[in-house]
């Protein structure tokens, strides 16, 4: 569908920078959704590099049995910070960045609903990132508890733990503000004629993600606050001595933690639901069922949390309930995968880099989904809980799922952002290197877990050596491949073939009616949607 009339796109360009401060102050004071989106994306990439470096330290230590490079305490700090930074610093801000850039343009809005608050929610992130990273350098080091921060271990930690708690508070506040902004924008600022069911799928996924975030980030904030008061103010929420229960923390944490998985995955689904139709030159199959599937995944995600804690010793009735509920998630997830495949069926496909990443996402995310199904089975999970099988499973979901989809999004929208086409050859190189090295890094971890290697250990028994070496080899390959990504993006920003307003033949939606690069101010007058059927 086409917007018949686009006001304010071209002529707004003239007064862009006239009343804006220049240099660093422009970025600090900006309330422009495109500037803020850009900052989110760069912040996310920086954190991705920091978290990635930590992952490589972990993998280097695990290259051989024995302690070679780091001490166990430091190793534990690395796994903790790697987890927190990747989840809260890299993946989540990346998708908030995409939302900032694209949602106003997709729904024909001039900016986000609360432009000033948008600025705040971004600028909370760097202090939180610094707090987390700096906690490595305080006496006692960072929290060495894993990103799950389980007490009583987290009660034993030093000041680094308090810094992590404050960082989580700040990150939580930022996410809540960000998602309120996104939800309000989607609900109130849609162009006339764009009903909810005509909205682009990315907006749908973010609408639901926004609700999820608002519902669960405060719960996490509550949980870490309880740890803080247990540590310093004599409460005993999680200490049996005072009538508390350490397992209670796990319930509260995973009540947040499981929806968090979908907070990361849903926007990724959204991106893929744009990229696949664009490159198959065919509308998305089953738009309505897709919306229902997303909504039901979000709802079910609230009632399955304890499948992360099958071996804490819950009553068998609890184990059965959580097993059945978890298995149920496979149904809507399956619907989505089938819909994507049906979208490709009898299309007219080309395989530019965004499409390759979307296909990589589909293939690998499905593997991650299936191993999730294996883990949902309580009896089998008793053997696999807290092993490398779990590590492999969630990296297939988080890296091959969310990260690959983020790469697809960057390549897909980069022409719109920069006005230049990226280097297709290098983009394909980035894809193939990432795909292969990712699988070398993480596929063997399934075997390690089955054979009985626990996770979060800096040293392991000799029979696990071979697959660990392969995995480390792959991890370094994957890490280095991302430098290529940085190079491709920088090269595109600096120049390259001029991008058309709609560089992808099959792309649909309002964002492609704007010139490339998108002007500083867009849709100051809402576009008018044609009465044609179908969604934007």
């Amino acid at each position: 569908m086409e917007a018949t009339h686009v006001h304010g796109a071209g002529h707004a360009h003239g007064d862009d920078h006239s009343h804006h401060p220049k240099g660093i102050m422009r970025w600090i004071t900006t309330t422009n959704h495109k500037d803020i989106g850009t900052m989110y994306l760069w912040f996310s990439f920086a954190m991705f590099m920091v978290g990635g470096a930590m992952a490589l330290i972990i993998r280097a230590e695990l290259f051989q049995p024995g302690l070679q490079y780091v001490e166990p305490e430091f190793f534990n700090q690395m796994i903790t910070l790697h987890g927190l930074i990747m989840v809260f610093g890299a993946i989540m801000p990346a998708f908030v960045g995409f939302a900032n850039w694209m949602i106003p343009m997709m729904i024909g809005a001039p900016d986000m609903a609360f432009a000033r608050m948008n600025n705040w929610s971004f600028w909370l992130l760097p202090p939180a990132g610094i707090l987390l990273t700096a906690s490595m350098f305080v006496p006692g080091g960072a929290a060495g508890t894993g990103w799950t921060l389980y007490p009583p271990l987290s009660i034993q930690m030093g000041i680094g733990m308090d810094m992590a708690i404050f960082a989580v508070h700040i990150l939580g506040m930022s996410s809540i503000m960000g998602s309120i902004n996104i939800v309000t924008t989607i609900l109130n600022l849609r162009a006339p004629g764009m009903t909810l069911m005509r909205m682009p799928m990315f907006c749908w996924t973010w609408l639901i993600t926004g609700y999820l975030l608002i519902a669960v980030m405060p719960v996490l904030a509550g949980a870490v606050t309880m740890i803080l008061t247990d540590r310093h103010f004599g409460t005993s929420f999680f200490s049996a001595a005072g009538g508390g229960d350490p397992v209670l923390f796990q319930h509260i944490f995973w009540f947040f933690g499981h929806p968090e998985v979908y907070i990361i995955a849903l926007p990724a689904f959204g991106v893929v639901s744009h990229v696949i139709p664009a490159f198959a030159r065919k509308p998305l199959f089953g738009y309505t069922s897709m919306v229902y599937a997303i909504a039901s995944i979000a709802l079910i995600s609230f009632i399955v949390w304890a499948h992360h804690m099958y071996v804490v010793g819950m009553p068998v009735a609890g184990q059965l309930y959580f097993m059945y509920a978890t298995i149920l998630i496979a149904v809507p997830t399956g619907v989505k995968v089938f819909n994507w495949v049906a979208t490709m069926w009898r299309g007219s496909m080309t395989f530019e880099t965004p499409m390759l990443f979307a296909l990589g996402f589909l293939f690998l995310f499905t593997i991650g989904g299936f191993t999730g199904l294996v883990l949902s089975n309580t009896a089998v999970d008793v053997q696999l809980q807290d092993t490398y099988y779990v590590v492999a499973h969630f990296h297939y979901v988080m890296v091959a799922g969310a990260l690959f989809s983020a790469f697809a999004a960057v390549y897909y929208w980069l022409p719109k952002w920069t006005g230049h086409m990226y280097d297709e050859t290098l983009g394909k190189w980035h894809f193939w290197l990432s795909l292969i090295s990712f699988n070398i890094a993480f596929f063997p971890q399934h075997f390690l877990g089955l054979a009985g290697m626990p996770r979060r250990i800096p040293d392991y028994a000799l029979q696990f050596t071979d697959f660990n070496q392969v995995s480390t080899f792959g991890a370094f390959g994957f890490g280095l491949s991302q430098l290529l990504f940085l190079y491709v993006v920088l090269k595109t920003i600096r120049g390259g073939e001029k991008a058309a307003a709609k560089p992808w033949e099959g792309a649909t939606g309002l964002e492609w009616t704007l010139p490339s690069p998108a002007p500083y101010h867009t849709f100051e007058e809402p576009p008018v949607l044609s009465e044609a059927k179908g969604h934007a």
Partner: protein, 377 residues
């Protein structure tokens, strides 16, 4: 196309390397050989799920790859414009649901069996400490036996200055000995943080939670030594608190119980004995290496600020009484545990003597078991 060729040769190189390594080493890629029916059930269940999953996976991606190869623009394929089909959508919601229900059935049966801890022959309590396991035989043959089980992998193997032994990181000084074919009920608990008692070959994994007991069970079908590890991150030496279960015949078990009882009786009336400084020092060094070295380090320098130094410390050079009290009772709100319940009088006397005379602490003090017995009052 150039990229594909390069990718192919790159792939071939990796495959070759992986293959040549594979021929040399044992690549453990599946569950450990099961020693209980429950472990066998888990393997069967996993195999069943893998078959279903692989079939569905191949089905779905065969369709996708067919489409990827046939329905591409470069082959001149024209895009169809359909975007809905209610019947198909209902089918691919309902059919997976049925498959899942079919999968849940055997899973439920296996789980119910796994959790049935009734009719046990022997009850053993495993207590997680940072970073070792303690065992109490609570009920059944062997009742009253209790001991600590510590890793015996030497530091120089971990640090790479000595060749690693065959059971590297999976060896302990005292095995949990149980008779074959008897139902063993395991209670787990912990004193400091959450640990998890896991032996893969027995398909037993149960978190050990401070302040609470949890229970699980196993019945070993064959004799042998089965090794596992702590499975819940519990701090610095999480990787270094292995679990070793030794399954023996009923006769051997009775014999073992007899020996243990004798040793415990001997340890109990150690209070009357006196030892020379040399005897105390050499015994103390061993006790220190097993219990203290993880935090206070072999050189007595500790890892400040969390783990203070003993070399030259006020405590080790000050009054004997305070030193003994800390070892017996621990220090609240720190990682220093109370060893009164874990070690006998002789061991505590030896280790206190060692700490007061090792490194630069040459105080010349001797502590005898009788001193410890007195301090316990």
């Amino acid at each position: 196309m150039g990229i594909n060729k390069k990718t192919q040769s790159c792939l071939a190189g990796i495959a070759l390397m992986v293959w040549s390594r594979m021929a040399l080493a044992a690549w453990e890629f599946n569950f450990q050989s099961p020693a209980t029916k429950a472990a066998q059930t888990v393997i069967d269940l996993h195999n069943l799920m893998m078959i279903i999953i692989v079939v569905i996976f191949i089905g779905v991606f065969a369709v996708m790859f067919y489409s990827v190869f046939k329905h591409r623009k470069s082959r001149g394929h024209q895009a169809a414009q359909f975007h809905d089909n209610t019947m198909v959508e209902i089918a691919w919601t309902v059919v997976p649901l049925l498959i899942l229900v079919a999968m849940a059935w055997p899973a439920t049966k296996a789980l119910l069996n796994m959790r049935d801890t009734s009719q046990a022959d022997i009850t053993i309590k495993a207590t997680g400490y940072q970073w070792k396991w303690g065992y109490d035989y609570l009920k059944g043959e062997g009742e009253g036996i209790k001991f600590m089980s510590l890793t015996t992998t030497p530091a120089d193997q971990i640090r790479g200055t000595a060749a690693k032994g065959g059971n590297y990181l999976l060896e302990v000084d005292r095995h949990v000995v149980v008779p074959v074919g008897k139902k063993i009920r395991m209670l787990t608990t912990a004193t400091d943080v959450i640990h998890s008692w896991w032996v893969p070959a027995l398909a037993v994994k149960q978190d050990a939670i401070p302040g609470y007991v949890r229970d699980t069970w196993f019945k070993a079908e064959k004799e042998g030594i089965f090794r596992g590890q702590c499975a819940e991150l519990c701090g610095k030496d999480h990787a270094f608190m292995p679990i070793v279960v030794e399954v023996v015949s009923a006769e051997k078990y009775s014999q073992w119980v007899g020996e243990q009882k004798k040793q415990m009786a001997a340890a109990a009336d150690e209070g009357g004995k006196t030892y020379s400084l040399n005897e105390l020092m050499s015994r103390g060094e061993k006790v220190y290496a097993a219990n203290c070295v993880a935090c206070h380090q072999a050189n007595g320098k500790g890892l400040p600020p969390a783990f203070p130094a003993l070399d030259g410390s006020k405590l080790a050079k000050g009054p004997k009484k305070d030193h003994i009290a800390i070892v017996l009772n621990g220090k609240p709100n720190t990682a220093m545990a109370a060893y009164g319940g874990q070690l006998g009088d002789g061991d505590i006397a030896a280790v206190v003597t060692y700490e007061r005379n090792a490194w630069g602490n040459k105080t010349g003090d001797m502590v005898q078991p009788a001193d410890i017995q007195a301090a316990r009052k």
